[in-house]
């Protein structure tokens, strides 16, 4: 779309002062939004308006705005990161919306992701799961040659696909059960596919699953909404890897 089309939008945005506030949807109008803007830039325009009117701007998480940091976290019309597949909401452009459209913007909804303010949620549950994963054994001494450890191309690709996870939490937000299994599975299978991850492979799976269960996430029921909204398009095959590793480790088998 090359022309400088402008959109007038009606936004229903979740406003919540703090964790104790019950929160509510508030309706705002933004005029003259360029189709070349990103979704977050459109919110910046709204916040300029609100500030000029003496109102409190809408709080939302963002950082790199390049789709790689995992900070932005908006549910747009019920879909985390919005309607465009394989895209973070910061990389979602307004050309995907129509003039006069109504857009509902909500935070990630999960007990394990409490709302801090407006559209900002606390995702430190993910950090605690990562911590539970522990370490990867490496030999001390001189750094090894980069090519000293052969990794089959297929395994390297699978590990990189899983490692693409930016930890944004859209999988939890999209899951009908608010389950974190795609995130945890991405982290587990990323190391499980590489030789460096083998020594602690079993303990890591057990410890990360235990940490995930403690945080109050729901349990996967194989509906694959997570895969559909993941901005890095991580496959639910990683969940199969996690299931296999955890069951094997739990049964004490090889």
């Amino acid at each position: 779309m090359s022309e400088n089309k402008r959109l007038n939008l009606t936004l229903h945005i979740w406003r919540q002062k703090n964790a104790a506030d019950p929160g509510r949807l508030a309706t705002y109008r933004v005029q003259g939004v360029s189709v070349h803007m990103s979704f977050l830039e459109m919110l910046d325009v709204l916040n300029e308006q609100l500030t000029a009117q003496g109102e409190e701007p809408v709080a939302f998480d963002h950082d790199c705005r390049e789709g790689i940091c995992g900070m932005c976290s908006l549910t747009v019309n019920g879909i985390p990161h919005g309607p465009q597949r394989g895209t973070t909401v910061c990389q979602l452009h307004m050309r995907h919306f129509a003039d006069g459209q109504e857009i509902t913007i909500e935070p990630w909804r999960a007990k394990a992701f409490p709302v801090v303010r407006d559209l900002v949620v606390d995702r430190s549950a993910f950090d605690r799961i990562i911590q539970a994963g522990g370490f990867v054994s490496v030999n001390t001494g001189g750094s090894p040659d980069g090519n000293a450890l052969p990794v089959p191309k297929k395994d390297a690709e699978a590990a990189m696909d899983a490692a693409a996870c930016i930890g944004c939490g859209a999988c939890v937000a999209a899951c009908k059960n608010a389950s974190a299994m795609l995130f945890v599975a991405a982290k587990i299978s990323h190391l499980a596919k590489l030789p460096q991850g083998q020594p602690e492979r079993r303990e890591r799976a057990l410890a990360m699953v235990a940490a995930m269960d403690q945080e109050g996430f729901g349990f996967c029921s194989n509906q694959y909404e997570c895969e559909a909204v993941c901005p890095k398009e991580i496959s639910v095959r990683t969940i199969a890897v996690m299931n296999r590793d955890t069951l094997r480790a739990g049964l004490g088998g090889a």
């Binding site: 549910t75 509902t104 909804r109 410890a207 194989n222 909404e225 095959r237 049964l251």
Partner: protein, 242 residues
């Protein structure tokens, strides 16, 4: 965090596994597989009705003449069902609790209606099974059609089934029950593979389609019995009046 030593299998670690999210899912899948085995076995037995009164009653009589096998299977299935139901309900409650504030704008990208209604289709099947037991095992639905004997003195299961399915309302209840089974199985079959960690990019699309087809084919095979009775294909034995 310190790495823990790998534990050998012990009852404590097994218990921990079964209480974990993934262990619970595996338990549901394993008991589901056992129940699926029953669904197939029961279907194989039931379809013998198309072979006529003699074959069907002989089959029913053979089962009843093996009380150890009969009651072993019944109690085993009851235990399996209790675990399947108990763990599923625990998981479902936990899943509800994991999202205390729902989305104002609900949306779904690729979840199927069968996957969204697993708990409800499962509970509907439970209600159906209770009705089915009351109908053909206890004889509480239509006592007049229950407890007849055939010319050889065996319980006349064939006549009982034909008489039972002559009522369109009862046949409809069975059709609805089987539709719920089809929905449940269409999501369950492919789910078992994923839960046990069997997801290969080349096989999974086939598994999903085959699971969906198998669920509806099995239900259709069951429904063929009341349908055949209503269509007059399976009829009352000569000399038997309703």
């Amino acid at each position: 965090m310190e790495a823990r030593p790998i534990e050998r299998t012990s009852s404590a670690s097994l218990c921990r596994l079964l209480c974990s999210s993934i262990g619970s899912k595996a338990l549901v899948a394993l008991t589901g597989l056992a129940l699926f085995g029953f669904v197939l076995g029961h279907l194989a037995g039931n379809l013998q009705i198309f072979a006529g009164q003699e074959t069907f009653n002989a089959y029913a009589h053979w089962i009843k003449s093996k009380p150890a096998l009969l009651w072993g299977t019944r109690l085993g299935l009851l235990a399996v069902l209790a675990v399947h139901l108990g763990v599923s309900v625990r998981l479902a409650r936990r899943n509800r609790a994991a999202r205390p504030v729902p989305y104002a704008f609900q949306n779904t990208v690729q979840a199927t209606s069968a996957s969204l209604t697993m708990v409800w289709s499962g509970l509907a099947i439970l209600a159906f099974v209770i009705y089915h037991l009351l109908h053909f095992t206890v004889g509480a639905v239509s006592p007049a059609e229950f407890g007849r004997t055939d010319p050889l003195g065996r319980p006349d299961a064939y006549t009982m089934v034909v008489l039972g399915f002559r009522h369109p309302a009862i046949a409809l209840i069975y059709a609805i029950g089987m539709f719920c089974l089809a929905m449940h199985l269409s999501h369950a079959i492919q789910s078992v593979f994923q839960t046990f960690g069997l997801n290969h990019p080349r096989c999974m699309p086939l598994v999903r389609r085959a699971g969906f087809a198998a669920g509806f084919l099995i239900a259709a095979a069951y429904v063929s019995i009341p349908a055949a009775v209503l269509a007059g294909i399976v009829t009352l034995p000569p000399g038997v009046s309703p």
